[in-house]
């Protein structure tokens, strides 16, 4: 889609390991600079490592998980940690560790998909509003205002209650709930980028309207949007957890960290690990996303470069 994304794609697999960035040697020195700056801080390295681990865990869950995550074993319910079940078992006798491993799939999927939904819809709306302006802009932005005047969790709660539970619906609910901020951000970006000299230069060079929009305006609006996306990954995961806690998350028996916290709630006194462990998992992943988002902002947003 953009240079930025391409870099992220080409660079990401190898560049996470310390020193690997130079081995992977991205094409342009800009990319190299990007990764160098990004990885210059230890926290970022650690966070990327956490994310890679989380993603690998999600991908390889069937290979890693010691037990089938959804198979009840009623005779073995609510067992404290042991050598068989490192984190114990839940009320249905399911292995908590395995469920946390499988739960990473849900959390990451919720994060990525809902952010993708929010980003794509929000960006399109914002782009149209910012570029076309006038009445169209007013109408779109009023609708965005409407959505923004309802807190995310309540909006998501509504949408979830409307379209029902289930992974897909939860992702849609969170995605739609987060969408307005993308529309706003994109519109603002478009409006400011629109009047920059290089966009004018594009017009003078005979570039058509639509082409100009996608070639010169959109790519230059992306950095803050990408930053917002990384930050929102964590927020989406947290929101899913909240929805699950309120009982409006995904359907059982699928394991989700939020639902696991909720399930473990009643056993807090006897088996605190039941809700502690998934809570820690959430914190780690969300934290990692936030740190990476922060770092991305530093590297991508020149106004903030050096500020953080």
């Amino acid at each position: 889609m953009t240079t930025m994304m391409n870099e992220a794609e080409t660079g990401s697999p190898g560049a996470v390991m310390p020193g690997a960035s130079s081995v992977a040697a991205p094409k342009s020195s800009r990319a190299r600079q990007f990764w160098k700056t990004l990885l210059s801080r230890k926290t970022v390295m650690v966070s990327l490592a956490v994310l890679i681990i989380a993603m690998l865990t999600a991908l390889l869950a069937p290979l890693i998980a010691p037990y089938e995550p959804n198979a009840p074993d009623l005779r073995n319910a609510l067992k404290p940690p042991s050598s068989d079940h490192w984190l114990g078992t839940d009320a249905l006798g399911r292995d908590v560790l395995s469920r946390i491993i499988y739960g990473s799939r849900v959390s990451l999927a919720v994060g990525f998909v809902s952010v993708a939904i929010a980003g794509s819809i929000g960006m399109m709306l914002g782009l149209v509003a910012g570029y076309v302006g006038g009445k169209t802009e007013s109408v779109i932005m009023r609708c965005i205002d409407v959505m923004m005047s309802i807190p995310l969790i309540i909006l998501a709660l509504f949408i979830a209650a409307l379209i029902g539970k289930g992974l897909g619906n939860v992702m849609l609910a969170i995605g739609l709930g987060m969408m307005p901020s993308y529309a706003r951000l994109t519109r603002g970006q478009v409006k400011s980028v629109k009047q920059l000299d290089y966009v004018t230069a594009g017009v003078i060079s005979g570039t058509g309207r639509i082409r100009n929009m996608f070639k010169h305006i959109l790519p230059n609006c992306l950095s803050p949007i990408i930053v917002l996306m990384t930050m929102n990954l964590g927020m989406a995961i947290l929101t899913e957890a909240s929805l699950s806690f309120l009982g409006l998350g995904i359907n059982p028996p699928t394991a989700s960290w939020g639902a696991m916290i909720s399930d473990g709630y009643n056993h807090l006194r006897t088996l605190p690990l039941l809700s502690l462990a998934p809570g820690v998992a959430i914190i780690l992943v969300v934290l990692a996303f936030n740190v990476v988002g922060d770092a991305l902002r530093d590297t991508l947003d020149p106004r903030l470069r050096g500020a953080l």
């Binding site: 009840p72 249905l92 539970k165 059982p252 009643n266």
Partner: protein
Amino acid sequence: GGKSSDSASSSGGSSAGTSETSGGNAQSGGDAQSGGGKSGESVLRVALPLNPRIIGYPAEVTNNGPLPFLDPVVQSLLHFDEKGNHVPWLAESWETDAEAATITFKLKQGVKFHDGTDFNAEAVKWNIEQYIENKRTETENIASMEVIDDHTLLIRLKDWNSSSLEAIGFFVRHVSPTAVQANGKEWAYTNPVGTGPFLLDQWNMNVSVTYKKNPDYWEPGEPKVDRIELLIIEDANTAASALRVGEVDLIQAGNVDLADELIKSGEFDYVLQKNGIGAVGVGLIPDSVTEGSPFADVRVRKAMAHAIDEVALAETFGKGYWETTNQWGSREAYTFNPEVEGFPYDPEKAKQLLAEAGYPNGFKTKLFSGLNTKDVFTAIQSYLAQVGIDAELIVVDEAQVQSLYFSTWEGGLMGHFHSVQPDLGLYMFRHLDPNGAFYAKGIIHPEDVLELLRENQKAPNMQVKTETSHKLQKLVYDEYAIVGKPLYIPMGIFIKQKYVKDDGFGVTHNAFWTPDNVWLDK
């Protein structure tokens, strides 16, 4: 007829995020949150997971849950003893005549409402009329009423029905007609003017209802405590914690695990309500009507029932506080038919039945669960999977549960939440009646069953009633498996500090206690 307890599925599991969020405990000034009240006043604090919406206008109290909030202030003509027998309360005695289809209540004398007006036959009649006006099922069988004298009321029924005495006697509660008429219905919602041992002191919506002693109570020497505070704590965990740290004296435990923990600690007294009166039984009911539903075949219904090990479920999730049964109602009820074979856990048989029905490789279906039955139903899902029934588990909220059982449930399975009270003619009929509101649209209605039900309703005496009841159990479960698999009946669990005596919680009807008798042995 009476009402089963509040929301069907709120009896098991955690209540975080269920139908109702709980209120906090905003006590009025001065009170510390532990034990005793101020300056020698004895105060009883009870945590209940239910939220009353109306206390003072019983005709619109449409479910059983809030009844404990009425007990201190608003009373009825009769109540139950420990075995479920009717005992007098505001009525001194009553007579029933099956032939003539009449009930005659003789009222206690000298009873006054809190506003000082007399409690008499006119008042009772007025109160019953309010119920009729609100289309309450309890009073739908009443043809007319006649005030014989100040303390005698004659009620003529449309048809003789053995349940009507209980319906009118226990479920109709009485408030001062004068007060309601003077101030209006809306006022009455929050201002109960009854005959009870306590007066409403303060009602903090969603938080607590507090009562103070009625000095002019009609029973001498009662009540024994000065104040009662009923705290609305829906969250089982919080309630348990509150009991543990002494913020409350008694709780109705909403969660088995927490209750078990408290009871095992040995620090508390507890009462298990075993007779199931007022309890909500949970079963698994198949939609046998929707087109294409495999459950239209009785063999599939039976196979489904055989596939599930309800004993293991009760053990794991009920921890001994759930009773299992193979028919409608508890094993202790007179309607219990020991000859019913039921569907003991037998996966092989289930598979065989499925094969016979033409599903040797099983089939796909849906399994709807409320929020609170989530864990149990998750286990059930895996039992079903073992015999080849691939059920997609769909957890729906309370409202959706209700709209499902108000229509059909997509050819799948859902929880069968039913009042386990013994009167089958009343309770079972509600679901099996082709025009019934709940579950009726998703199940078959065999003529022989309906015939038996009618017979049961009209039973002139206990013997007929029992006989027809036993026949019904056999037919509905063993023969047709109409309402599928009975799973468990949760016992009401009441846990209290050791000094709380004679509270009556869990002794008779689930929603009934004795605020007039309770005392604190401190």
